[in-house]
């Protein structure tokens, strides 16, 4: 079967979701291999520039996962991140990004099962959307 395999840039917080990915692996929960993981110190570290950079470079989707509210290693980084992500997601979808290409989750390091489940959902949603077509930086076409 020849199905579309999306490329998804995944930002995982070192203190929780990255550990959850590890746990999912060690526990042999299966999830599709469409993610390219970037390990980050905190979901608050992710900037609008990074997200747009991934999209401009042809990512079919971007998934950012951090610690549950109240569980941030730096106490409140994810609360600031939540405000930022809300504004950014609204702005990008307002400008034409299809809902679903940009996804967010809170997954603790103990939630290996949740990690595998969310990974499935994120990948299937983006697979349904098909290859990304907007905001991609292509080389200029010269005759």
């Amino acid at each position: 079967m020849n199905q579309f395999e999306p490329k998804i840039i995944t930002f995982l917080c070192n203190w929780c979701s990255y550990g959850a990915a590890d746990l999912a692996g060690v526990s042999r929960f299966q999830y599709p291999p469409n993610m390219r993981v970037v390990r980050i110190p905190c979901s608050g570290r992710v900037s609008a520039k990074m997200i747009l950079h991934a999209i401009r470079n042809g990512a079919d989707g971007v998934w950012i996962s951090g610690c549950h509210p109240g569980d941030c290693h730096y106490i409140e980084g994810n609360y600031y991140a939540r405000r930022k992500f809300y504004l950014l997601k609204e702005l990008l979808e307002y400008s034409g990004l299809e809902p679903g290409r940009l996804q967010f989750s809170w997954i603790s390091s103990a939630e290996g099962v949740k990690f595998a489940e969310v990974a499935h959902e994120v990948i299937e949603k983006i697979r349904d959307l098909g290859p990304a077509s907007r905001f991609i930086k292509r080389l200029p076409e010269v005759a």
Partner: protein, 329 residues
Amino acid sequence: MELNDTLRDIAKKLLEEGRVDAVLGFRQSSLAHMTEPFLATTAEQADQLVFNSCCRMNLAVYLTPDLFRSGRPESGKKSPRVAVTAKGCDSRNIVTQIQENRYKRDQVHIIGLPCTGMADKAKLLAAAPEGIDTITEKNGTLILSRDGKETVVSKTEVLQSNCLSCIIRNPVIRDEMAGDPVPELDMDSHPDRFADVAEIEALSPADKAGFFETLVSDCTRCYACRNACPLCYCPVCFVDESRPQWVGKTIAPTDVMAFHLLRAFHDAGRCTDCGACEAACPMDIPMRAFTRKTIKDAREGFGWETGMDLNLRPPLDRFDLKDPGDFIR
């Protein structure tokens, strides 16, 4: 007394009494429908100050740390004080700059300008295609004259679109007023305040993408919009960063969109909808279509209205446990 006379008297008095080192205001430029920023440092110079419907710039953009370092050398004071004339929106940008620690409240003396809106320069030129020699304002009309020929337009018809949905026309902070406060439009919770944004929100993703691609298609990446904006004071703007290079330098649609998206995002929770960016654009691009979305979201998501209260921290510098979070799994 005429507003301009009061304004000049205030400026002269401040300078003569040595209470400020300079007065930042507008003066007439060589084109009738334009004014230019002007820093008056003597009482004689203060005579050139004006306020009219062509003062579209936001003077807060000139309140840079440099200005406070480089006052008149003979003043001998360490930190110069500057008076600035401010419309309602300008004053909100001043509040924002103080919240962001650009300078301190007591370093600026704010001369409030009661504002009934700015005339859109494209609309003025369209009303007088032959050109304009002088503009006279009288009871809500603008008289545009050229070679003795007069065109009378009502001010409401030529207003900039941001002035139609202005939420506060009198400065929120001020040390004195150059005229009686004008009545407010009570737009802050008006159902139509964000009608333009809602219209775009209702489009499909493909139509939204098409809409914005057309909207910015004439953009030459001159960055006049950025330079006119009092929020854009970064020592190195993301457009100039090269390692990594966040946005390409070309005018390919994707690079232009990346510029506008990131600029709008940097203004989220900070933009006062002053319209200085659009007024500065040589291509008449209505790029407030991006920033207005962030104003609406900050209001709906965090109950935030920019620059209304000096004592609040900026919205991205704080959070609430009940902030919107439904979009996160």
